[in-house]
Subunit: 204 residues, 2 copies
């Protein structure tokens, strides 16, 4: 559970909060998850460690909140509501637009370095891995599920398809290339994934 | 480059080689890649560290050879030639069979613990990640490429499909669920991936 700030949260404490997020992301990117500590984050943010413990109970919580905040910042910079998923009535176009934006985010160094540190720890630390999925990944994937369900209603996707599995046909290849350095990622690649997934490899 | 054993390799040195592989896999699973050392592997295998340096130049090389050997052992236990990919003339059946075997391997603790340690390091260490891909992953993926090319010749897969991207529609979802703990993996799941990929999400 993330502790909520008291209602009298001041401008000054918002500034501390942002400094803590920045420090946490920078530190985990530099030294990795195991060596990141609340003390280290506090020192780098220029706050006392009690300031951190007032809001969060663990370094995992600080880091996950820092990523959520980074995602919201990126969305604002791109002029979007956070977590908005387009529905233009053209499923292929909507999926391609979201995946193109994801490629851009994955290649953004502000995001990439700390994300890799956290993702690497999640591979060997199942409990942290499951927390990362529940808090950071699954909420985004559920937006694909919703969009695919709408497409089932309009007849663009077959009724017998499980949307939670279907989304993995285009999301997971991008994730694996990024995580494991198995190939380059760009917009042409993700467009191709969407076309292959929607229309299949077998002749029609 | 991996140094080859001299032609007079004795039974005794093969025993040392196997002990070194076992020690390397056990150690990386226990302490992670950064803390695994040639000295630690030698001590655990009960050999001098010069015995290791006679055959390999780095811990990365020892570990990659140990994984190749483990894969060959598993293939022999399953009664297969190593790296054989079935071609029964039914692409869906062949892909499902290979992916079911991969699920079993991913869930085998002998394989899982050291694999996770190495994969985690590959996420943050791009050079090691690329070596792992080139040596351990890409040779297996090329067997899917070959099988998909045959399916293009027989008309089961469209001519305009790039097989190297196409294989990711079923391989990467399994990889992501395993790496990131994003969902359960079993034979029904991989069978579903193959059906979705071949026939597509859109109505036919």
């Amino acid at each position: 559970m993330v502790k909520q700030p008291a209602p009298d949260t001041t401008r000054r404490s918002e500034k501390s909060r942002r400094a803590i997020y920045d420090a946490a992301l920078a530190l985990v990117g530099e030294v990795g998850y195991p060596k990141t500590t609340i003390e280290g984050i506090a020192a780098r943010a220029g706050v006392g460690k009690q300031t951190i413990y007032r809001w969060w109970s663990s370094k995992a919580e600080v880091l996950m909140e820092a990523f959520l905040d980074l995602g919201e910042q990126s969305a604002r910079e791109a002029g979007q509501e956070s977590y908005a998923f387009p529905d233009t009535g053209d499923l292929a176009a909507d999926l391609k637009a979201v995946l193109r934006a994801t490629v851009d985010e994955l290649r953004d160094p502000r995001f990439e370095v700390p994300s890799r540190a956290l993702a690497a720890e999640g591979v060997v630390n199942e409990q942290l891995g499951r927390e990362l999925v529940a808090k950071l990944l699954e909420p985004s994937l559920q937006l694909y599920v919703d969009r695919l369900r709408t497409a089932q209603d309009t007849g663009e996707v077959r009724q017998d398809i499980d949307p939670r599995i279907a989304l993995e046909l285009f999301v997971s290849p991008l994730a694996q290339r990024w995580l494991q350095h198995t190939g380059p990622i760009d917009h042409t690649y993700t467009d191709t994934l969407v076309d292959y997934a929607l229309y299949g490899l077998a002749p029609r």
